[in-house]
Subunit: 308 residues, 4 copies
């Protein structure tokens, strides 16, 4: 089996290898210039802050379907321990074991490879157990702060959530952009709301994962045309399940991460943000979504915040 | 042994219990109003972003001295795995085990107790192995974004780093405030630079922990007077080691977290920020320092970013 | 709510506190004397070895119902890593995160408490996050090797597995003892087979846990009368679910661990052993079931082996 | 760099590939026949049991020198938790994160590869992050119980411990065999005592690892000639450090695990056993050293017990 011509045609059109030099490890994050960030700060009007991460807990979104992607196991390693003797100040300390992609997270560029290659043409074999990802590890990203734009596709299509299997098309994104009343521009971080998170919030973990709406294989060209810096949505895998094209799995991952060098986010909780944007009538904001700098990691939990 | 009168006198003066209601779980974070955040956004002039977290890696700042506070163990649970068959898009996934207080982190309010009490008078026994912290868990903080002020005490005192054991006094803070050319105000997050991080960056982990400069027991009143929302510094334990007052351990933890209900940060990397502030001649910025929302946790790794 | 009189009556009859001294931390393991072990070795006739542990894997018996009792997450931290340069011998290394009670395990004496007490009258509060169990930690057991006796209750009652909710009674044990053709004696380790493990082996994890056969509250007296050193069975929780007496949960745990000071084992795979014992017509063997010496732990994974 | 002719010559002489069939995954463990085990049981004379594992604790033998091989982090996930309501039986539960090779352990056959090959000629690439070791995972071993023989080389050479860098030679093994008063035979598990563990027990972790005595590259032929089933010693890495032959690292690992298909054990605590064998004047015993059946693992913690 190999990837179909349809995939390779799009790949060629969105490919960014070499665009920021052969040594580049951060891809489209290069598009977030100081000027873009100044513009992002100017989007703050009310000072209202909306966090976009799911709670980190044992009872998280993972069901065991994805091997090794374990929900957080939070433990106390000390509880009110009087380390310096009886009657002294007492300490509590915590530890955690978790999959870095288990909850609200960024996929870093080396999270997927295809045809033996990673972003910027590096060999897939540069990801190892010993080092993690030698190139483009999530620690290389350093900072992700930019203008955020909520593309509320569900709302634009007049529904609470898109049906399972729905392919979010470029036309859907256009409709959501119109609802947002803004034009997505270079360096923006786009948050695509499908409403699928409502399934999880209603208690149906399995239904959250499958069937799921997601982004059509045609959307990377849309993001590429606008020079978007990163994209996140409110689904388990970002992609459409069952897949849009039979036997073509994770094509958007491969286009975003490998071809474009664009980080993508999953399991973002966009419900409160959707409501807030509706209330204030604006869909743009300052977005801070800092990666935890795990050295050599292919992804990271993230606690994004939108400042409206 | 019990805490000395000196401690209790200060405790009484800085105590915030009940100030935001008996049900309050976030303490001084209440001081970060929408208005404060609008002001914080207005501090962005250049768009330059400085990350303040140390890399998360096995070779981190912990030496094993603090039981259970383990450096991050980052592992790959999948490497270029063709989950859907040969020739398909291949995935890499990661997991981690780490102490939540092991690297650059926030101490949440229930991280310490004294005299059997937590912030707002809650019993210390409400922290359990099963639930973690029932009250004021770090997930309750939701968002920490505000104006940041770098109080560069080392620079104000004309040195690269304060000597081990140096007590940063209110007078030192005044000097740094003067250098900063601003007045710390309600809702600000204050970053106190001692320069101690340079010891770690130079490769001396043990010397980083001990002896260490830190904040004098007299400084909480300074922060209280200005209604600061949170304080972080660039040391392993925040406090002076060996301690300022013999046999009085972690007094500033107890005053900040228990009495004031003010989160504090440790192991923040302030060197690059110090240089940048020196270059632009301003020491104020937008600071985003979002807690990862571990449910019931008494602390969290944080990847703060200063936007100048 | 408190424990009923029925429980306290039995507790009084089986209590071993002080029997091996007020300092004792190993309870009925004291009954395994050198003489008992010589007798155990004499049970080896064929040299055949039957392992009794379930495979340790992510897809284990836990379903998430018991908080924190996570199935093993096995990861590779190095894969064919040429640590000393290209062309040298290459190493692979592993790590694991798991609940100590997640798979085939021993419950150590401090695994449960009731009425604020542990075995030998020690305060329950001596189990802490910092130290684990100060008394009777599983590392104190040092070695568990003795004569093993399979009491194949399912087979004695003419069935493959006892129905969910079935209470294994003293009379059932008598019947199984008769089938075994031996008299259980001081220092023996008794393995009670209910056949419930077949539910798990057939792929039904939830059905394995509930409803489940288990040991009646009347059986501790039977074990006490024979001075058994330890007991294990082939169920998730050892106990009957739903419980034998309404609202009386885990009574056998409390009697065995707290009152008698007798370790108990759960999730033991006894199917192959049952077949082997049937084939050779003997139900006694040398049993080695060494605890992993986790310091201060209240339990441990175990890989028992019966040598027939 | 490649392995020297000296290595390949020995490799050819001790190679067992194909000896137990091309499908074999357990190598020399095939030599432990039922008859061997009956003989092992006959070695039990006193009934005395000596455990050979180090305590599992955060303060273990690892110093951070070997990447990812972390000492055990033992945590309580529940402490006296009244899961079924106030006044009911209360439970304590534990979890652990640890390197499988961190403490007293078995190296499984796929723990090392050389020249791209594992035991029985399988490709090194069959060890993956997703599956661990597809062949010869430690779970395949099922049981390791046999006659144990202590070769007390330190005692035979009249010392408490061999000096760092000392190469244990075939002649040293002959001397220890003579002291033991037995001839090592097919299926035996040999425990080689160097006394190096005394360095760790005296509190010097770094000195324990380096410099260290270990087994000479000439000893695999000795073990091969006697058809030994497995070998363990009381050092951190099994091998001589600094190495016997310059730039030839881990040659004994490669000969034992890859060429012979013979498991080897490290960090075994043989001090108490040495004393006991001296007291009873016999150096043979029943040895049970059951691997924990981690699926696909290249090694496992082990809690061996010698029954004299």
């Amino acid at each position: 089996m190999s990837l179909p011509a349809e995939f390779h045609d799009i790949a060629e059109r969105v490919n960014n290898w070499g665009r920021w030099g052969t040594d580049d490890e951060i891809g489209t994050l290069n598009l977030i210039t100081d000027e873009v960030v100044r513009g992002a700060a100017a989007e703050v009007r009310t000072g209202r802050r909306i966090p976009l991460a799911l709670p980190l807990q044992q009872d998280g979104v993972q069901t065991g379907m994805i091997p090794g992607r374990v929900n957080p196991l939070h433990v106390m390693v000390q509880i009110n321990q009087e380390l310096f003797g009886p009657g002294t100040v007492a300490c509590s300390d915590d530890a955690v074991t978790m999959g870095l992609q288990a909850a609200t997270h960024w996929d870093g560029l080396p999270h997927v490879s295809h045809s033996g290659k990673l972003y910027n043409g590096r060999p897939a074999a540069t990801v190892t157990a010993h080092d993690g990802a030698r190139y483009s590890g999530i620690d290389k990203a350093r900072h992700i702060v930019s203008r955020g734009v909520l593309l509320d596709v569900a709302r634009a299509l007049g529904t609470d959530r898109l049906p399972g299997g729905h392919a979010v098309t470029p036309e859907d994104l256009d409709a959501a952009e119109e609802l947002a009343g803004t034009r997505v521009r270079a360096g923006d971080i786009v948050l695509v709301r499908t409403g699928q998170m409502r399934v999880y919030l209603a208690g149906d973990k399995h239904g959250y994962g499958y069937p799921s709406p997601g982004l059509s294989i045609r959307t990377p060209e849309w993001f590429h045309a606008r020079d978007v810096a990163a994209v996140a949505n409110d689904t388990l895998t970002f992609e459409i399940f069952p897949p849009e094209t039979e036997n073509l799995w994770l094509p958007v991952h491969a286009l975003h991460l490998v071809e474009m060098g664009m980080p993508q986010g999953q399991n973002w909780q966009l419900e409160e943000l959707s409501t807030a944007c509706g209330e204030v009538g604006r869909h743009t904001f300052l977005l801070s979504a800092m990666p935890e700098p795990f050295v050599g990691a292919t992804g990271t939990p993230v606690a994004p915040v939108a400042v409206l």
